[in-house]
Amino acid sequence: MQNFWEYLTKIPVGLATVFKTLFEKPVTIQYPEEKKPMSPRFRGRHQLKRYEDGLERCIGCALCAAACPADAIYVEAAENTNEERYSPGERYAKVYEINMLRCIFCGYCEDACPTNAIVLEPIEFPTGYTRESLIYTKSMLLEPPPPGVPGTPQQTPPGKYDRAILPFPPIDESV
């Protein structure tokens, strides 16, 4: 009997909380239509990087795919020519796909890449309504060329881009 009275007195207390929150501003947001600001060090989805001259950094080596614990990456390579060059050296990624549904955003691909081509960027996580739309293709992953610079493929002079792996630029300590 005592429990029953205790129960009755607690009901208004609980309802008070309900009514109070009913008039508060909600904390959930309508992602992806609404977005929250992110820390610059946030590591979201991948981007395929370019050199300053617009050539793709990715050389289609598939080491990222080998390192990926989720088997999310698929690479098919092909051969560059001076007439039709995508990346320095002989090899480029003709097909590059990441299945965002498999990816666990661990960053191992970034670690494995010999040219720093694949980088997890502070771009929000991908969303979509179908499985197919979440397989990101090379054109979706590739960053746009720097302003005023042509994209790929490019026509290049013989002998200029013989090496696939160029010495890394000095690390930018400010980020």
Partner: protein, 737 residues
Amino acid sequence: MAELVNLTIDGISVRVPKGTLVVDAAKSVGIDIPVFCYHPKLKPVGMCRMCLVDIGTPKIDPATRQVVRDEKGQPVIVFGPKLTTACTTPVSEGMVVRTATEQVRAAREDVLEFLLASHPLDCPICDKGGECPLQNLTMAHGPTVSRFDYDLKFHNDKHVPLGDLIFLDRERCIQCGRCVRFQSEIADDPVLQFHDRGRGMEIVTFSDPPFDSYFGGNTTDICPVGALTTADFRFKARPWELKTTPSLCTHCAVGCNLALNTRLETKTGGYEIKRVMPRQNEQVNEIWICDKGRYVHHFTRAEDRLHYPLIRQDGKLVETTWEQALRIAADRLERPSAILVGDRIANEDAFLIAQFAKAIGAALEQRPALPAHYADVARAVGIGSDADFKQLGAGDVILVVNGDVEEEAPVWFLRLRQAVVDRGAKLIVAHHRSTKMHRYAAAIHRYEVGQAAKWAASQRADWLQGARNVLIVFGDEHLDGSSARALAQTLANWLILGGFAGKPNSGLLPLYPHANTQGVFDMLEHATRPANETTDTLWLVGVGADEPAPRANFIIVQDILLTERAKRADLVLPALSFAEREGTFTSGDRRVQRFYRALPPLGEAKPDWWIVQEIARRFELPWRYEAPAQIFAAIAQQVPRYAELSYERISRVEPQWPPMGREDLYYGGTVYDNTGGLGARYAADAERSALSPYDVHVPEPTLAGLERTPRLLYRDGELIRRSAVLRAHIVAEPLTA
């Protein structure tokens, strides 16, 4: 039995035949001595210094010529002041080898440091990366950091075509000379050589056309770095992504064991053959394959592969269902029919077709038709079931009659050539034109075109007497059926009368056109009935475009591709290629071997045996086979020669020497270990009972023989045409004599 020698390697006692090299002796007890230039199939040169070990020999008292012993009675071992190359030093009695000393470790590290000084380290884009001896040995024995400045690295050309099939990366070459030595020692196409010296040293080809050889692909397997890449596999996949399935080559009678490397691919949305590699079978192809076997695989995913049954409606072929196609086929086959069977289909398919043809009383023939005239003779006096080409040598006679071994059975050419050149067998060649085999012949016979049988008949039957073994390789070039049979019988008589028939390493070796000529003959033998000039229904199962066929009112073509023949058919039944199904082939030397399914089926295409069985069911034949293994069990019951064979027996593997395709890629190259079975030969008739000589009637050669033009390796055909890399090599015009 060769004389045995005792030695100790890292404290382990080893007993090996005299003359064995230290590196092989170590391998035989599981001690890996790293090598680059040494290859167990090539002569040692001692060029790379990677195999340095510490070798000591017992001290000999100069006065008494006796081994000096210490107070405990143990021989005193004298080690050299410097390390020795294990790949050039033969074992000797009492030798002590140390491979784990600090001095050896330091030597290996130094050799690798020197090699890496000039090496581009572009493993990420190197096709060998992941199965590279240089990578592996660097991880195991190399320095952990480089003392050289990366930017001062020596640079060189990275894309040097050596012909249109092989590309050289000059930076990656470590000058081991394996490719040069393979081309001159094994293939005898010495078209590669070193040029210049020091850091400028490079591999060049000086033939015209460049790198002119049927065996060039093998150099990419044994190259210990990614310096040689094939046009076919270049940048196609990383080795660790590949799935490997044991398979067989379908293009000639040798029956080379293959490993099909497959991978997922976006264009076709499924698995695709990325490369074809040799699979070790010391009895068949050792570790080699020819370029045809390596590059012709593209037909398996050709654009015009058949996916669905097609039926002719209003003059056009349109897709239909299996239900309808099988019903129509069965209806049509109720009428007088002829069935022609190509010799690339598996034994299981051919067996069911033969049973079916017998049951419905249809005419049945094999295509090409010529081998069926002599396949029974070749089988009767064939080489022994334990024959081993490696045992052929001094004292043996190899006779090549009317055949071009390099063109018709390339890997047999390699093996027979070694028996002659390296081991001293006597080669006699008889042909109406010159072939590559003529280079090694001790005696050459010539005759007019098409007169091979007459020439053979003019020889004394006992002219080969005195040899230890006699192996007779023969072909049917420019012969008609009866001449080819007369030739085979005459050759067989030499063996029978000379007492060679039934000896393991003696016998006939026919140069059949395809991988299963013998098998199809064995299966069809008792059901064969010649077709008339015209018939109501004609069913062609895997028959080539240029094969003659009777005229018919209704033509059923069963094939894997929309061939010229299929385009003219009334009903087209889509079959699966060898890569998409299981089965067995019987090679020219009667070795029954298995191939496995490497690719998923295409569309609704079905294995040939399934199609035959489904049609047969509509004739109320009570077959319910679920898999080729069950059909093979029926073959073993009903075809007496196959009685001792089973999938279990032909799938057996045993350790082979030299060990290949395991972790030690540097020893043998990237050839694959045999996991699919070594196969087994069924016995020749001569092994079971004594044969009496054939009664030979040598006919006058007819014009029909002239149509059997030389069977060149790159002759035009439906399959080779679909391989872009080989297209430029196709010989359109047949050689005229």
